[in-house]
């Protein structure tokens, strides 16, 4: 029973990790918490659904197109929303991001209504492995997430773009002095973040249904994971997400299942009280 909960929690955590890492990437480059992540999850899932169901492309292809589509949307958002506000401080930017989230979410509602949708995939029966029920989607989720994280790690550690991103995150002024164009790095960061969030949207859509509020339900766990990991540390965000996922599943042992979402909030509160730099945070969160 507990092992099953932990397993489910790890899988939930992986989905959360994709969003949390995306949040962390944009935070370290743009220095504001991207509250649009909820709307991004929703839009990513709907793009994949649009390609998968009405157009009939298989889900993996649909996921790739969702990543590309969401990246295009976020590039436009960067150009027309975030760039004009770049020098106006984190508070202004995060309110604008919330406005953007409202727009993205409601474009989906306007286009597809409130009814829940599902991807066109054949439901398979769960496998039983030494008493554990493992759903094929859970395996898919794990494989996709681990692959995405490994890919991201390679990009960050071993490419020109990764070095530029880490340099800007570390010291934007010095990066400029070294000839690193922050606007370019910013755009590429949006592309990476959008791809990760679109993937998480697709995985969430596989797990439950696709509806306009799906992203909203994930905002708090995603933020909790990123904060737990010390905003700005992708590794920490993954760890935070796994912890949040497991804690959410295990919480049903002590509280009503309806309150599962409270776990994320409690985690944020505890981190803020006890260890403001997060678990692996490199820099003290400013005050």
């Amino acid at each position: 029973m507990i092992a099953q909960l932990v397993l489910n929690g790890l899988v939930t955590g992986m989905v959360v990790a994709l969003g949390a890492v995306a949040l962390t990437l944009t935070y370290s480059i743009l220095k504001f918490p991207n509250f649009a992540v909820g709307g991004m999850i929703t839009l990513g899932a709907y793009i994949a659904w649009l390609v998968n169901v009405p157009l009939g492309l298989p889900l993996p292809g649909a996921a790739v197109l969702a990543a590309i589509g969401l990246a295009a949307v976020m590039l436009a958002a960067d150009r027309f929303v975030f760039r004009p506000l770049r020098d106006r401080g984190a508070i202004t930017l995060l309110v604008a991001a919330m406005g953007l989230s409202l727009i993205l979410e409601n474009i989906c509602r306007l286009a597809f209504g409130n009814v829940a949708r599902n991807f066109d995939v054949d439901p398979e029966r769960p496998w039983r492995v030494s008493g554990l029920r493992i759903h094929p989607e859970q395996v898919t989720t794990a494989v996709v997430t681990v692959a995405a994280m490994a890919g991201l790690w390679l990009v960050l550690r071993h490419t020109r773009l990764g070095r530029a991103m880490r340099a800007v995150a570390d010291n934007p002024d010095l990066a400029a002095v070294r000839g690193i164009d922050r606007d370019r790095v910013t755009r590429r960061t949006w592309v990476l973040a959008a791809a990760l969030v679109a993937l998480s949207g697709v995985l969430i859509g596989m797990d439950r249904a696709i509806d306009p509020l799906m992203g909203w339900a994930y905002i708090i766990p995603v933020f909790a994971a990123a904060i737990l990991g010390g905003l700005g540390s992708p590794g920490g965000a993954v760890l935070g997400a796994l912890l949040i996922g497991v804690a959410q599943e295990l919480s049903v042992l002590v509280i009503e299942p309806n309150y599962r979402q409270v776990v994320g909030f409690v985690a944020i509160a505890l981190v803020l009280l006890a260890r403001p730099r997060g678990l692996l945070g490199v820099e003290e969160i400013r005050r």
Partner: protein, 250 residues
């Protein structure tokens, strides 16, 4: 922006020439119309009391602040409108006062980033070795996070990074700050050597006693204005300067 080479009779022997430069943050003007000519192949040292706008001035020269007025010329080219990202390629090297390295990146990565994004300024392998030979302490380099280096090593790394992009002018903001007396002397020696290899230097120093011997020119900046600009050896014997400078600082 404009890459036209404006011949200018006034700057014949100046590598960097600043005219009427005004800089500030928001509405407050800190640097209030400064004229400086940093001679080619020389060490020009800016001194002045705390808060007189020295760092602000040099940040403006590096392109991190948008000028409120005036102009900046390097080897006859107008840099005024160029942002920091574009000034490296024009030959501006800058070592900030603090936060002069990428703390969370390895030493090797810091060195790599010194030229990776600067088109056309890669140094040859030989130049590279020569530059690194100036900083023997960097032998501990590699995967070590640069933030773990000692203050002196950090300064060395920062200077090496700036030099690898083969600047025609190197801007140094208090290279000796926080270093032990022995390291201060060494750093000043390094500055002189770098200059003798043909890099013009514009440096801020609080430690006048250590800086004057290696300097060719001195600029005294007080409250955002140039109070005095003169050859260094003249000032070594000018007690007025000491009075003026120390008097203002008190």
């Amino acid at each position: 922006m404009s890459s036209d080479v404006t011949s200018n009779p006034l700057v014949s022997d100046a590598a960097l020439e600043v005219r009427g430069l005004r800089l500030g943050y928001g509405a407050t003007e800190i640097v209030k119309g400064v004229d400086i000519a940093a001679r080619r192949g020389a060490v020009t040292t800016i001194i002045g009391p705390n808060g007189s706008g020295k760092s602000t001035l040099i940040r403006g020269l590096a392109g991190l602040l948008r000028p409120l007025g005036g102009s900046i010329w390097l080897e006859g080219r107008d840099l005024t409108a160029l942002p920091a990202v574009r000034r490296v390629a024009e030959g501006v090297g800058y070592v900030p006062q603090e936060a002069n390295i990428f703390r969370n990146l390895g030493v090797a990565e810091n060195l790599r980033l010194a030229t990776e994004f600067v088109p056309g300024r890669q140094s040859s392998a030989r130049e590279r070795d020569e530059i690194l030979a100036l900083f023997p302490d960097l032998a501990v380099r590699g995967a070590l996070a640069a933030g773990r280096l000692s203050g002196g090593q950090r300064q060395m790394l920062a200077m090496a990074c700036a030099l690898l992009a083969r600047p025609s002018i190197l801007l140094l903001d208090e290279p000796s700050a926080g270093l032990s007396p022995r390291l201060v002397a060494e750093t000043m020696q390094t500055v002189r050597e770098v200059c003798d290899r043909g890099v013009s230097i514009l440096m801020i120093e609080q430690n006048v006693a250590a800086a004057l011997p290696v300097s060719d020119q001195v600029v005294v900046l007080v409250a955002g204005r140039v109070r005095l600009q003169s050859a260094a050896d003249r000032l070594l014997v000018d007690h007025n300067l000491h009075r003026l400078y120390l008097g203002e600082a008190a």
